[in-house]
């Protein structure tokens, strides 16, 4: 039998329906692949093989009756940020030591409703704070990709590094991920996978460990555009338990995938042409535009003048919200407790030991910018800049642009333990330069593999859409996927 883990989610779904194999066989194939690969890649922080087999058997029972949901019997990996009832949920942090929630996040509940099978919890940057998956309490995820002729370990990107690596390395058919400043799109670009951050409000945030609530959105990482669209349809939907969840119908996103781009206008923002941008990224971007034009789209130069201020504004807004959200980890209600001589001592020691360095740094920045006397100068100012960033996009869309094409990242994946990045927090933050604007404006954005750099590492392009118009992004991303035509799978070394 062919290796079932190599099937796309769409093909696996077809095979299950046609009874070419069972959900249990498919699940066992993934469990075997995880057992073999995880010591090398560290993509999963917890596996749930028994639960997976039980879910698969239940799916087989339904499939044999020609019943079942849109994801019946499809094995998925779940980012450790999503609460999964009775199962390891720690946001890859020491401070949530031993936490097993009594409830299920809405997004994962939607996936189980549609018949998906849970393989386990995926590694990530601690509390989703990072761009390399190196801030995890469980250690870094190793990318399944290596530069040609090199054995050096590379990062899979972050914060959804475990999700991206597991999908690329065939350790799940698809994965949940979250994106606060680029945490779905950057790791997708680094691993030759497809990742979409939907419009803010499309997916419920309920039961997802909060980082920066006005920016956080869940979305899928998958091996194809079609797979991402199938997952997106199941993950989305109104939820009364999230006050910012938007009550509008969820389209069948997969139906939009082959819609094409004929007649669409694609915007090209001049501000994304950064000084010192590698020539191969420039070339990739130009190629992407040619592919879209060849399929009937027109291209229009646009200006998003406040682009350069998105990242600095983000590094006020996100830490401010994080410092507030992470106040709940106090050694009382759940997770780690370090005893002290009094309650304040206990709080301070617990948080000093439980949070990693990057998380503490961001809580400190957030606490500072929200502190008396600085609130207006930093937080209010940043939120005003955010209004301007959003208006830039609105002006472009009002001028007839349907979607915007940009590079997804300023470079391909870098090495684990990169010294230049480790010594300068701002240098690491610059990884999100092309993605963060989208979170600041609440828009949907998709990363799709489009080419490779000189060392054979995948590079991605990003498409940015109008609010709640993810369908256009899937259609345009599919054109890029088809036109790129490349094989973005890693060469298996693990």
């Amino acid at each position: 039998m062919t290796d079932l883990t190599r099937l796309s989610l769409a093909d696996a779904r077809k095979g299950l329906k046609d009874k070419s194999f069972t959900a249990l066989e498919l699940t066992d194939a993934y469990i075997g692949a995880i057992e073999a690969a995880n010591p090398s890649l560290n993509a999963y922080v917890a596996t749930t093989p028994e639960q997976a087999r039980d879910m698969a058997k239940a799916s087989d029972a339904k499939l044999s009756q020609r019943q079942g949901g849109a994801l019946e019997g499809i094995p998925l990996g779940i980012k450790d940020l999503f609460a999964t009832k009775g199962v390891h949920t720690q946001a890859a942090s020491h401070i949530l030591d031993g936490f097993k929630p009594e409830y299920e996040s809405t997004v994962t509940a939607n996936l189980w409703r549609d018949g998906a099978v849970m393989l386990g919890k995926l590694n990530m940057d601690e509390f989703a704070m990072g761009s390399s998956n190196e801030t995890s309490y469980y250690g870094p995820v190793v990318s399944p990709f290596r530069a040609e002729g090199s054995n050096a370990n590379l990062v899979p990107g972050g914060s959804s590094g475990g999700s991206a690596a597991a999908v690329a390395a065939w350790l799940c058919a698809g994965a949940t991920a979250t994106d606060t400043g680029g945490s779905i799109r950057q790791p997708a670009a680094f691993t030759g996978t497809v990742g979409i951050k939907p419009t803010y409000g499309r997916c419920s945030r309920w039961g997802t460990v909060a980082f920066a609530s006005s920016l956080d959105q869940a979305g899928p990482i998958a091996r194809t555009v079609e797979d991402a669209a199938i997952l997106m349809t199941s993950m989305s939907g109104f939820d009364a338990k999230d006050s910012t969840s938007v009550d509008i119908p969820v389209p069948d996103f997969a139906a939009a995938v082959e819609r094409g781009v004929k007649g669409l206008t694609i915007g090209v923002p001049k501000e994304y042409r950064m000084d010192g941008m590698p020539a191969e990224i420039e070339k990739l971007w130009a190629e992407g535009l040619e592919w879209l034009k060849a399929e009937g789209a027109s291209v229009k130069d646009i200006s998003l003048p406040h682009t350069k201020y998105a990242l600095p504004a983000y590094y006020i807004v996100a830490p401010a919200e994080a410092s507030s959200n992470l106040a709940r980890y106090d050694g009382v209600k759940y997770g780690l407790r370090v005893s002290g001589k009094d309650i304040t001592d206990m709080y301070e020691l617990t948080r000093a030991e439980g949070f990693g360095r990057e998380v503490k740094r961001r809580i400190m920045i957030g606490t500072y910018v929200l502190s008396a006397g600085y609130f207006d100068a930093y937080y209010v100012k940043a939120q005003k800049v955010r209004t301007l960033i959003k208006k830039d996009f609105e002006d472009a869309f009002n001028a007839g642009v349907d979607a915007i094409l940009t590079p997804a990242t300023p470079s391909a994946a870098f090495g684990i333990g990169d010294e230049a990045l480790a010594s300068d927090p701002v240098a690491m933050y610059l990884n999100d330069i092309f993605t963060v604007t989208v979170n600041m404006a609440g828009l949907p954005g998709i990363a799709v593999p489009a080419g490779k750099d000189g060392q054979g590492l995948p590079l991605g392009l990003q498409l940015i859409g109008k609010p709640f118009d993810e369908e256009t992004l899937f259609a345009a991303a599919r054109v890029i996927e088809k036109s790129a035509g490349g094989d973005f799978a890693p060469k298996q070394w693990w």
């Binding site: 350069k308 410092s323 809580i363």
Partner: protein, 95 residues
């Protein structure tokens, strides 16, 4: 604006994170690097611009003011490091 060593310690106290003496200098350098980076927002003219409160045009929904959930104290305290009779246990707060 930049922070000095005393400010780093004060932020640590406000954030309830113990900052050991030997960590202060490193935090000071890192925080100042980030604050230096965000300084460029000073160039942006925000005269008459409203601060964003919601990224999507929406009014926050309100639910009915009724009890709709609860009666499972044992689940609420189920993950706590220390409990007694469904109460969270903490070090003595009042002398």
């Amino acid at each position: 604006m930049s922070v000095d060593a005393a400010t780093v310690k004060r932020i640590g106290r406000l954030a309830r994170i113990r900052i050991e003496e030997e960590e202060v200098a490193a935090y000071q350098t890192e925080l100042n690097a980030i604050l230096g980076f965000v300084e460029q927002l000073g160039e942006v003219d925000v005269e008459g611009v409203e601060a964003m409160t919601s990224v999507t045009p929406m009014t926050l929904r309100r639910r009915d003011d009724v009890v709709s959930d609860g009666n499972y104290a044992e689940k609420i305290v189920g993950n706590a490091p220390l409990t007694e009779d469904n109460f969270f246990m903490v070090p003595k707060v009042v002398e």
